[in-house]
Symmetry: C2
Subunit: 358 residues, 2 copies
């Protein structure tokens, strides 16, 4: 994502990330200072600092600030920065709980929170469950704090009225999207409908649409402007996830930082796999169904799956879908009444995000 | 707790519970109506309805409404009822996640959320983890909704300024209290300090002090009035938990609805056990340390522990502590400048809660 820093001012992603990170670290300091009787709190604030420092593209805060600049060229007030940071804190919650649910060992090249916490209790017979339970509490704290961020002295009743329903929808959609994902994982189907719904709620709305709308709404966007931003955000968010699914199977682990076996071992429900299943011959079906979702899947098995994804045309069809969704997003942008500097940046962002290799 | 309904109007606990429950069920209906594209949401709203219907004394909403009436005889506005319901929704979150952490099978005589959800997936090899993960999401939704409850059209900026820090403190204290509890469980110590801290954060502040202060603060209480209410709430909350600990070992399962072996099997860190360990002879120490926290503990083992708790005087000392804490709470009430009708009710409540058998 480093190419983003070449984008036009005032949308300087590096500067936006720094401002948001300062908000996050300052907030954690304040939480510690507000609870001098609870020295154990520093275990949690420390873990969150480590988690945030370890990585993350800050896409949601970036889009929140972009949403503001889509509507106005006034500099964003403190409440906008707090809302942007709130999204990143919520994301920390979501990832910490997701990692528990997926039983993941690493995140951003570091041990996941529950693994790191289990290690702290090595020697206790229940070290693993103490680690998992403490990580659940860590996620719970992060979620609570994501709302506490909105306790900004300069937030107006009108802004609150706009922010609350958006954040409520974002949370409900994301958590139900996560449920759809975990209920579908492991039982692949040729019907892409469920994969599309997971993409819509777990990624397109959560990662792109809601953050953009949050910033725009705080800037006083009209209903028409919000609709235009949704018209851009939803197809772009879909393209983003389709790219992610391809990277999960074909990516360079050196660049993505994740194995190309995990999604296949887990049996992740994707449009890519659904399309392959729909187009596969009986033999190809057998290959997919016997390999996909097998926790002991080897590199050889993965190569067999990749061969079927190519031979059925599912890989090429996914690339075409990304391209179509990208076009759809750009068309919506062209028709929208947004500030030109922001339109240019959103165009640039759409290109970067759909053609990325990491 | 049925005796509470004999208390003076306008503090009619039965009526308060009904109003709060109506708020909760109406809220869940609204969430479903707001997300017609997400039919899967009804799985979660349905589970929460079942969870709330299965039981619960609604102590926190009751104390929140009481806090209001401690300060004013005006009828509570909608925001007060929403704040009271918010506490119960937060409590649903806390119990659902606690039950996962404690690996509990039942709650209020029904299967816990993660067990009920695992049963829905019977036949899947990963039924248990799908059940646990879905229950985590259910808890996450309930926590988020507990804040959404405060999105009340009639809440003023001044009230928000009062409510946010209180709810932030309540959440941090409760979650860190839960951490103290899970980190200490299974390794009993003769030092009662850690048990007192768990009581303070996980019960006294969470169950009594913060709910009372929330209602009072919304009614516009002065700092002096809030301090007086804390002076009542903290010792009463401590006495409440000490009684709970005694009921966990000596209670009548017919009345309490829970086994008298669970706390002992789990190795729950209590003031009762810490005092016994501090006073025990070498032989008594051996009995306690070999039986306490043993997951296979039998009725005979439990009887041996009870004999040590009695012989060391720990049981009697705990009863004395309850009595002292009760007196301390009543003294604080006498010195406080609260509306008489409310003082009378709080006196009645303190008696009921410390002498309860269920």
């Amino acid at each position: 994502m480093t190419t983003l820093s070449a984008s036009p001012a005032p949308l300087d992603p590096a500067a936006i990330r720094t401002t948001v990170e300062t908000q996050l670290y300052d907030f954690l300091d304040e939480q510690e200072q507000a609870a001098p009787d609870l020295p154990e709190l520093t275990l949690f604030t420390g873990l969150l600092r480590d988690f945030l420092t370890a990585g993350g593209k800050r896409i949601r805060p970036l889009l929140c600030v972009t949403g503001w600049y889509a509507i106005t060229d006034r500099p964003p007030p403190p409440v906008l920065w707090r809302a942007a940071a709130s999204l990143e804190m919520f994301h920390a919650f979501a990832l910490i709980h997701d990692d528990i649910m997926d039983n993941s060992d690493t995140r951003h090249g570091h041990p996941t929170a529950h693994r790191a916490l289990a290690t702290r209790h090595t020697g206790r017979p229940d070290a693993e469950s103490v680690g998992t339970n403490t990580a659940m509490l860590l996620g719970d704290l992060a979620m609570g704090w994501s709302y506490e961020f909105l306790h900004s002295p300069d937030i107006t009743p009108a802004q609150l009225k706009v922010v609350w329903p958006l954040l409520n929808a974002l949370r409900t959609e994301t958590l139900v999207g996560q449920y759809l994902d975990l209920a579908a994982t492991g039982t692949p189907t040729a019907d892409p409908e469920i994969a599309w719904r997971i993409i819509r709620y777990k990624t397109a709305k959560y990662t792109v649409e809601r953050p953009l709308l949050l910033g725009a709404a705080l800037a006083g966007a009209t209903g028409r402007q919000l609709q235009a931003l949704s018209g851009y955000a939803l197809p772009l968010g879909e393209a983003f996830q389709l790219r992610d699914d391809l990277l999960g199977v074909y990516g360079d682990p050196e660049l993505t930082g994740k194995s190309v076996l995990d999604d296949l071992r887990e049996g992740k429900q994707t449009v890519l796999v659904a399309m392959a299943l729909a187009r596969a011959s009986a033999t190809q079906q057998r290959t997919l169904r016997s390999r996909f979702g097998n926790p002991n899947l080897t590199d050889t098995h993965a190569a067999e799956i990749r061969a079927v994804l190519a031979a059925t045309g599912a890989r090429a069809a996914t690339e075409r879908l990304i391209s179509d969704k990208y076009d759809e997003a750009i068309d919506a942008l062209d028709a929208a009444d947004l500030l030109p500097v922001c339109s240019a940046w959103l165009r640039h962002f759409a290109h970067t995000i759909t053609s990325r290799t990491a």
